[in-house]
Symmetry: C2
Subunit: 593 residues, 2 copies
């Protein structure tokens, strides 16, 4: 065997590597990559400990489930994922969606709630893997950019509002902004002053760390990357200081809510078991969580990959995230996906391969085994502060202004998404956003732009008579339909052509210029046949021009070409030459502004 | 006042006439039109009596409700409708859908069932009027031709199967073909021989009338139109003969099911009253009935109008049918629409104005007052025979072959509609058909056809390099995207362009030829911005050509034109001239088969 052959992969291994990228990058793993990954993992671990606890509380689950969701899921992604920098685990929006999904079940037993969260991860994982195997990653495209932007903004507001109760030390609940605000006002009298002081100070400190600390560190001579990473450690400092204070002064005796006993040790693997109705009730939510989680994660992964001129494989990402969620389900966790802030930290800290995720998992596992007693006195207000500061950066209403300036349907979609998410909750909000964008698209294509065109003098080009100075003839009407012809606009075309004919008695020939017609479906074909028949009975010939190859191939399989009263021209100019007699008379020439 | 002014309409009258066409045609009504309408009305009345009874039984309602649905609804349409030949009343498919909708409620009290049928008509009428006022007639376009054709075919089969129990004289039930067949086989042992004889003879007779009688009548010297109309009277003959035989031999004593006592006289006007839950439960069904009824009706009306070079007004038709259904609801009827067979008879018999419908209503009202005692001994098997013979003409599987030959997505939509209607019932069938056609359309547009194009030598035209002999250059890639760019295909374009760039290291310029791009939405704009940025970082310029006016108008409102690394060319030829240096070198010339 030559040196060369030794580096070649066995064909079966190669095929397997497509589904398990670890078989590919794992073979090239060396000491340097290991060092890079390990350093990145340490930094992400420190950031992830408070985040995972906080997001579990946001999801309405016991704090330890956040830790569990940050161990095996990361290993699952490390084996099957394709992004070198993506940091998988609990994230804000998916945690909020988990809370909404479980809230609908009306459970009160904590064990049942935890079980449902695991079931949601299992369903979501199975759906992601199914979509990956069926190469249905493009389904995510039906979530338009404005709808996602609006949804994330509205979710950020709901999340921030949902954490206010922890800052105030009161009980409040609700799955949308309205319910939350009403509930907070109702319970405002029960505010615990000590909790409020801790919460407000922690929030103020974290905002300062985010905005003010980094310039100070830079001024003090730290390197930019180090300053950045230190600033990211702010939540850990807040957790340490407030926990210490609470322990020293027994603040929990004065009504400060604390995390309390977190089971020490790792959960035994178990498959969530529920009754059939609950599984079915969770299906819709699981689908939404899968798609939203995938879209968020893939856009982060793509952005980071592009920075190193690498590419990720979206369909394989589905399998990676699916494996991750199934790992979460069987190890006491809840739905996970790739998080934005954490992945950026992972990237900046120098993560080289998905192994960084696996090392982070080891870090969190050690923390779960060793550090949980230290978290007993951690105030929930501190966790709420870390969430609020993290999610407010997601809130960005500029998408409203941008879509308003650019395209009304996009604005309607984003405004609907934001309004319904805030008023009726995340699931209705995002479903309505998707539904509205699809309906508006269909509605738009059902009333296509149709331009009457004429010849640009001295060229072979045809342009809209309303926008250009062009030559036309009274006997010849050329309509350019700017849309594929399909069932939703078939009747529109029929009405339009017949109206035009009625308005112009001198007509002898109509040309449908099909340069923008990418398809003619059965319904549209029937409509064109009807138009042809109707025109024929009034002595007008129907012609087509610039029919695209694939459209023409199909028309050839029908009787239409035999029935067509006129001709099919390769170019509009040929149609014009033949049907106008080529020498436009000055008298019939029309010029428009 | 001059003679001329006397014929002019008052402006308010004119505006009202838009919503009440009777104000228009009523003013020109004369003796000749009256005679034509009255003759047509007599013929339609004779045809409608057995039909209305039969369709009421099909809907699972008492026979008299069919008569009630054939009186006031016709008057309502006569006032508000625009078709001169449409005959409104109970029809087969809508009756089947009514049965399905009421079946879901699980009612057993006949009064409650009748009330629910009226409520369905009221809801359906209100929805039709709302759609008409909002000019939403185009909503009906989302029902593609193949889906309608498949749905009607499958419904015809279910209707025929549902009538077999009456022919056999057994009890059987089910809302889809499978349930019906199973139920019929279970009860086959209870077959009543006398009923079977009546049913089979009536069916055979009616088939013969349809196929064999007309040629005989023509041979006997009848005029074609007369022969046709006599053949249409077949059901009346079958009803008369079998009723007489049943009465003479007291066949009801031997187990032949008869229509029995039909209340003599007209129903008192009343508004259906139901509890809130039932109203809500009927909403979806009412919407389906409205849309299907409208589509069926409007296509009949359009076909008949075109024969006399007239046009109908679809949005006003919605109001006409809506008024008709509300009239049905308050007069003891159930959902109605324009029927195909009856409208053709009305047209052939010479109906001139919608008044023919009003005269038919008078005929049915008289029949209800005077003839109902005669219907006591009418065997249900005879009515079932008239239905079976009528609906089997709706069954036409050729749409499967035609769509298979023409376009796979259309075939999938029609096959799904037929299969699900037969297996799961009408409501699921038609909803799935609409859903599938929309999804397939979106799916198709989400993976658009993209052609690499080159210059057709000696012209200014650019064609697909795979289909034409064209000139291309190694440094210049021109892609023609054959679809509007929107959220569902934005990412597809991004992937495609970047893949092409990776495969071709000699590239310096990419042109997106936008002649078929009718729209670029916010998501697609973001993708193009991302493509531009990514290409720029690898030293490749992105250009656009043949951007349409409305698309360009929008782009001008963004920063994109400043960020674009290349240019925007009015024509692809200009782009080619500038970017290729205009003199194609023989060495870089590519010719494809």
């Amino acid at each position: 065997m030559t040196q060369h052959a030794a580096h070649q992969q066995h064909p079966i291994l190669k095929r397997m590597a497509r589904f398990m990228p670890i078989l590919d990058w794992g073979r090239r793993y060396d000491r340097e990559t290991f060092t890079n990954d390990a350093v990145a993992a340490m930094i992400v671990t420190i950031m992830l400990i408070p985040q995972s606890l906080a997001y579990a509380l946001l999801a309405g689950l016991p704090a330890e489930m956040g830790l569990y969701a940050s161990i095996l899921p990361l290993v699952g992604y490390a084996i099957f994922g394709t992004s070198h920098a993506l940091a998988v685990g609990p994230v804000a929006v998916v945690s909020l969606m988990t809370a909404a999904a479980i809230g609908k079940l009306g459970l009160s037993d904590p064990a049942a709630i935890a079980m449902a969260a695991g079931a949601l991860a299992l369903l979501s994982g199975a759906m992601l893997i199914a979509m990956g195997v069926l190469r249905l990653g493009l389904l995510a495209n039906f979530l338009s950019h404005p709808v996602i932007a609006g949804f994330i903004t509205a979710s950020g507001m709901i999340i921030a509002a949902s954490q206010l109760k922890h800052i105030l030390g009161i009980k409040a609940s609700g799955h949308n902004l309205y319910e939350l605000i009403v509930s907070i006002f109702e319970h405002l009298g029960q505010t615990n002053i000590l909790t409020l002081i801790i919460g407000v100070s922690a929030t103020a400190f974290l905002f300062w760390v985010r905005k003010g600390l980094k310039p100070k560190l830079l001024a003090a001579g730290f390197k930019p990357r180090m300053a950045d990473l230190l600033a990211k450690a702010g939540p850990v400092a807040a957790v340490a200081v407030t926990t210490l204070l609470t322990w020293l002064f027994s603040l929990d005796q004065y009504g400060v809510a604390i995390v309390g006993g977190v089971p020490q040790g790792l959960p035994a693997p178990a498959i969530p078991s529920l009754d059939r109705e609950t599984w079915i009730a969770l299906m819709g939510s699981a689908l939404l969580i899968s798609v939203i989680g995938f879209v968020e994660s893939v856009s982060v992964a793509q952005t980071l990959a592009a920075k190193r001129r690498k590419r990720i494989v979206p369909d394989q990402e589905l399998i990676g995230l699916g494996a991750s969620n199934i790992a979460s389900a069987v190890s006491g966790g809840y739905p996970v996906t790739g998080g934005f802030a954490r992945s950026v930290v992972n990237f900046d800290a120098g993560a080289d391969t998905p192994a960084a995720g696996a090392f982070t998992a080891i870090g969190i596992a050690l923390a779960t085994l060793l550090l949980t007693p230290l978290l007993y006195f951690l105030p929930k207000a501190t966790l709420a502060a870390t969430i609020i500061v993290a999610v407010l950066s997601l809130v960005d209403f500029s998408i409203l202004r941008r879509t308003w300036n650019y395209a009304l349907p996009d604005f309607i979609a984003v405004a609907t998404t934001i309004a319904l998410t805030l008023l009726l909750g995340v699931e209705i909000g995002v479903s309505a956003g998707v539904g509205i964008s699809i309906l508006l698209y269909l509605f738009k294509t059902s009333r296509p732009h149709v331009a009457e065109v004429g010849l640009v003098p001295g060229t072979e080009h045809f342009r809209n008579i309303k926008r250009h100075k062009v030559v036309t003839h009274d006997n010849l009407l050329t309509l350019r339909v700017d849309e594929s012809l399909y069932f939703a606009n078939a009747r529109f075309l029929e009405d339009l052509v017949l109206d035009r004919v009625a308005a112009n008695p001198a007509l002898t020939d109509i040309v449908l210029m099909c340069s923008a017609v990418n398809e003619i479906d059965s319904s549209a074909l029937e409509s064109i046949e009807a138009i042809n028949e109707r025109l024929q009975s009034t002595g007008i010939k129907l012609h087509l021009s610039e029919v695209k190859g694939p459209v023409m191939d199909r028309l050839k399989r029908t009787h239409f070409l035999h029935e067509l009263s006129g001709e099919i021209f390769l170019t509009q100019f040929q149609a014009y030459q033949k049907l106008s007699g080529m020498t436009p008379l000055p008298g019939t020439q029309k010029r428009s502004a």
